[in-house]
């Protein structure tokens, strides 16, 4: 097997030397604050990057403490933390804690990135299952029946439960942070190999994300005669490969971004106008 050359061309290997010995940048109260700041997760929610902006805002004070005067390092960390993320606001604090522990240890950027990508989607699934599909119907059911009888305990209890759930974020952030700190010492010796493995994990999950987040469904039909119509989506595209169009569109965007240097702004405008226009024409 041809040795797959590690794709590091002079990337910082100095990381392990600088900050490993010199105590920690973050105190326990910093971590608690990080957990409370997860409130901002969706502050700039949008379809292109979803919770990315809010996630970065959550991490920012801790990142500033970690990088101090290292503007370049801070910029790199900020850029990475601004990548696509969409997860459950209730338990995102776990991810914040875990990743900030890695940032604090100046772990390889690729490891941090891969880990974040790998974790957010499963966390979203778990969070939705617990909070939206199980807890909310139960709490809403109990409290609503009280409220409908004019009993103020209903809304008050509802509020109390969700304040308690919010406070759980402090627990999640510390859990994540402790786990991250312990993992970091183990990763250290083989950071390059771990970074590569993390990228493998990240890329696998991105493949899954494309299939589950990008949705393009053609509504057009070809009418042959009164009895026979061919549904373009169900009878044609889905018969070739499910999610063929989403995959194709992502790689069209990738091609335009990388090879043609088209500005992302143009891609967003074109995509948006296309969506409205094709909806008007009844194609999508």
């Amino acid at each position: 097997m041809a040795s797959s050359a590690p794709d590091k061309s002079g990337t910082p290997d100095a990381t392990s030397g600088i900050s490993a010995g010199t105590g920690k940048a973050l105190t326990s109260s910093d971590v608690t604050k990080l957990g409370l700041r997860t409130l901002f997760l969706q502050a700039s929610f949008n379809y292109e990057r979803m919770q990315a902006g809010g996630f970065l805002v959550t991490q920012l004070p801790a990142l500033q403490k970690i990088y101090k005067d290292d503007k370049k390092g801070l910029a790199a960390a900020m850029t990475d933390n601004l990548e696509f993320i969409n997860t459950s606001p209730h338990i995102v604090a776990f991810l914040n804690g875990l990743l900030i522990a890695m940032e604090e240890a100046h772990e390889d950027r690729k490891t941090i990135k891969g880990l974040k990508l790998a974790l957010f989607a499963p966390l979203a699934g778990i969070g939705d299952a617990i909070y939206w599909f199980t807890l909310l119907p139960i709490v809403a059911g109990v409290c609503s029946s009280m409220a409908m009888e004019g009993n103020p305990v209903g809304p008050l209890l509802f509020f109390a439960v969700y304040v308690a759930i919010f406070c759980m974020r402090i627990f999640w952030v510390h859990l994540g942070y402790d786990l991250g700190t312990r993992a970091v010492s183990k990763i250290r010796e083989a950071s390059e190999k771990v970074a590569k493995a993390a990228t493998v994990l990240g890329c696998t999950v991105i493949g899954g994300l494309i299939a589950s987040y990008v949705k393009i469904s053609v509504a057009s039909q070809i009418v042959i005669n009164k009895d026979v119509t061919i549904k373009l989506q169900g009878d044609f595209f889905d018969k070739i490969l499910p999610n063929l169009l989403p995959f194709g569109y992502v790689f069209l965007m990738y091609y335009l971004l990388k090879k043609k240097q088209v500005s992302p702004v143009i891609l967003i405008v074109v995509t948006f106008v296309l969506a409205i226009a094709l909806s008007f024409l009844g194609v999508l």
């Binding site: 040795s3 794709d7 901002f40 700039s44 929610f45 949008n46 379809y47 292109e48 990057r49 990315a52 902006g53 805002v57 920012l60 910029a75 900020m78 933390n81 696509f84 606001p89 209730h90 990508l117 989607a121 699934g125 778990i126 939206w132 119907p137 809403a140 409290c143 609503s144 029946s145 409220a147 409908m148 103020p152 509802f158 509020f159 919010f166 083989a190 590569k196 493995a197 993390a198 493998v200 990240g202 890329c203 696998t204 999950v205 991105i206 493949g207 899954g208 494309i210 990008v214 949705k215 499910p242 999610n243 995959f247 990738y254 335009l256 967003i268 948006f272 969506a275 909806s279 008007f280």
Partner: protein, 268 residues
């Protein structure tokens, strides 16, 4: 009974607070049970508010924003169900149905914002590249402020100024436009993923992307955990392969050192 100007303003302020909470999904004071109760308190009929809030809450408990689809707006549902029950004298159930158009109106507005806010990400990218913390904070505040303002305006208009006109607006809105917003929401993440791939994707990682994509496409499962587990399996495989390769190289190098007579290896 009509809504007074003071009540209209108070409702708008309440909607701004609860609307921000819905935007951030923080303390769940955006749920109809809370919004309805608060509305009832503002218009001076708390039991009615709890009644309408409770009924609306039960109806909305099954409607979740999970998975990216936006359900009818719970804040507007809670406010308008109570307001309409109060002003028209309809019973709570009927008022909830009457409130639905307003709920849809706010839903469309938010859907539009989800698309429109994508443009803020360009400025955010530039700010991140320059480590401009202030600008990142500002962008997030701006987005949230826009949402807050929209809630205030819409609730003030719906509850106090022009109920009929707002309802007519929703009903006049063509289906293709709201459907178009939803479609845009389905496709726009493609740009986000393309940005991600631009940085991450190298030829050696393409196989893993394909495996993840095919897995998720054929696995009819709402959670990506199985894909992540496959990803961990692949990552472990790659890691152990690299480890044994490194060990083999080390061994070979040690062998060369032993046979020191030949000195052809110093090239690099």
């Amino acid at each position: 009974m009509a809504i007074t100007l003071g009540q209209g303003v108070a409702l708008a302020v309440m909607a701004i607070i609860c609307g921000i909470d819905f935007w951030l999904e923080g303390f769940y004071i955006f749920r109809p049970i809370i919004v309805g109760t608060l509305t009832g308190i503002i218009i001076g009929d708390a039991p009615l508010g709890m009644m309408c809030g409770g009924i609306t809450e039960l109806a909305f408990a099954g409607l979740t924003p999970a998975g990216g689809t936006q359900p009818p707006n719970p804040v507007l549902a809670g406010v308008m169900a109570t307001v309409l029950a109060h002003t028209t004298g309809t019973d709570a159930k009927g008022a909830m149905a009457l409130a639905l158009p307003f709920s849809f109106l706010m839903q469309y507005i938010i859907l539009f914002c989800y698309s429109a806010f994508s443009f803020f990400m360009r400025g955010a990218d530039e700010a991140a590249a320059k480590a401009d913390v202030h600008k990142i904070n500002l962008i997030n505040i701006e987005c949230t402020a826009i949402i807050a303002l929209l809630y205030g305006i819409v609730v003030f208009l719906c509850a106090f100024v022009a109920q009929d006109a707002m309802k007519a607006l929703v009903e006049a809105m063509p289906a293709w436009l709201s459907h178009g917003f939803e479609i845009a929401g389905g496709i726009l993440p493609a740009v986000g993923f393309a940005m991600l791939l631009k940085v991450m994707l190298k030829k050696e990682f393409m196989p893993f992307l394909l495996i993840g994509f095919i897995m998720a496409s054929f696995l009819n499962f709402s959670n990506l955990l199985p894909v992540a587990v496959i990803g961990i399996a692949l990552a472990l495989f790659v890691y152990t392969q690299d480890e044994s390769r490194d060990a083999a190289v080390k061994k070979a190098l040690a062998g060369i050192k032993v046979a020191q007579e030949e000195d052809e290896e110093d090239g690099i």
